[in-house]
């Protein structure tokens, strides 16, 4: 039986993006059902423009070279791969309202929902992670 993985993404830096999408893709590739709830700064990770230029944490800019050397895929690449494998993205409605953002500002295929939408999925999850 496939396991369920519920992830909350609430931070919007480059490192956060990798943590979220790497774990999500690995889980999906292992036949697990994955949903990610993007809230507050986490929405950056699925924002069409913002997710192309996520910031390194202050003082860690020198890691850029390491990323290139290790041939790490870009965030948009990882994102579409995760989607292709069936990872479900849920954008937080309340944060979008606060920030004045519409669904169209985000990558195609996301769902928009409130906390309960995510909790409903997380209720039956075998693994829950927060980033």
């Amino acid at each position: 039986m496939s396991k369920k993985v519920a992830i909350i993404a609430s931070n919007g830096g480059l490192f956060d993006g990798y943590k979220v999408f790497n774990i999500a893709s690995a889980a999906a590739a292992t036949d697990q059902e994955v949903a990610i709830f993007f809230t507050f700064e986490g929405l950056n990770l699925i924002h069409k423009q913002a997710n192309q230029q996520l910031a390194m944490p202050a003082g860690k800019e020198h890691f850029a070279e390491g990323f290139a050397k290790a041939n790490v895929p870009s965030i948009p690449e990882l994102l579409s791969m995760a989607q292709e494998m069936g990872v479900k993205f849920i954008g937080c409605q309340m944060t979008m309202d606060v920030m004045g953002l519409e669904k169209e500002a985000f990558v195609y295929g996301i769902e928009v929902g409130g906390a309960v939408t995510f909790l409903e999925f997380a209720k039956g999850a075998d693994v829950t992670l927060t980033f």
Partner: protein, 191 residues
């Protein structure tokens, strides 16, 4: 160095985690149950990852060969063969076969798993003829010998034993369950 046979080879060299796993999952869908996938990767974490991935998805991790920077992982796609009823009437359990091996009785052990499975782990001096090749390679075997046929769980060896019996081999014994539970000596090819 021996060459290990696989049905499909996946090039995941130069890719960072989780890409080797993601590519492996995709490549697996192109294989039929029981076939062997070779994954070539340079990500040092891929060995532990591939092994864990196989465990949780139900595929069989056979082993890894290191060639310089390149790790070659071998996986066998899950096949559901374990659920087939076994029909060959003559069987022996692992322990009894092990004592025959230990007492140096002259016996012939025929391993019908895929070559890649045999490569990483087999009973010393056993003969490797994968089930799929048995028909055309049967002439390599002696009809008068007592043949102990082994695979991983006893299903492929059951089919092989039936095939041999139908072709005039009279002293064919299926080993149950087989390599999945073998605690005796094993050998591997010089990889």
């Amino acid at each position: 160095m021996e060459i290990i046979k696989s049905n499909i080879t996946l090039d995941a060299k130069g890719l960072a985690c989780p890409m080797p796993i993601v590519k492996t999952k995709k490549a697996m869908t192109q294989l039929e149950g029981g076939q062997v996938l070779e994954v070539q990767a340079t990500d040092k974490g891929s060995k532990a990852d591939i092994k864990a991935w196989a465990e949780s998805t139900g595929h069989q991790y056979l082993g890894t060969v290191e060639e310089g920077e390149v790790l070659k992982h071998y996986l066998r796609k899950a096949s559901g063969e374990e659920t087939i009823d076994k029909k060959h009437p003559h069987v022996i359990n692992n322990d009894d076969l092990q004592s025959k091996v230990a007492s140096n009785e002259h016996i012939v052990i025929l391993d019908v798993r895929e070559e890649a499975e045999y490569a990483f782990n087999h009973i010393p001096n056993s003969i490797s003829i994968p089930l799929g090749d048995l028909e055309k390679r049967m002439n390599e075997l002696n009809k008068e010998d007592q043949l102990f046929v082994v695979c991983r769980t006893g299903s492929r060896s059951d089919l092989a034993a039936q095939k041999l019996a139908a072709n005039g081999f009279t002293k064919v014994v299926n080993v149950l369950p087989g390599m999945s539970n073998w605690s005796g000596d094993t050998a591997s090819l010089n990889l």
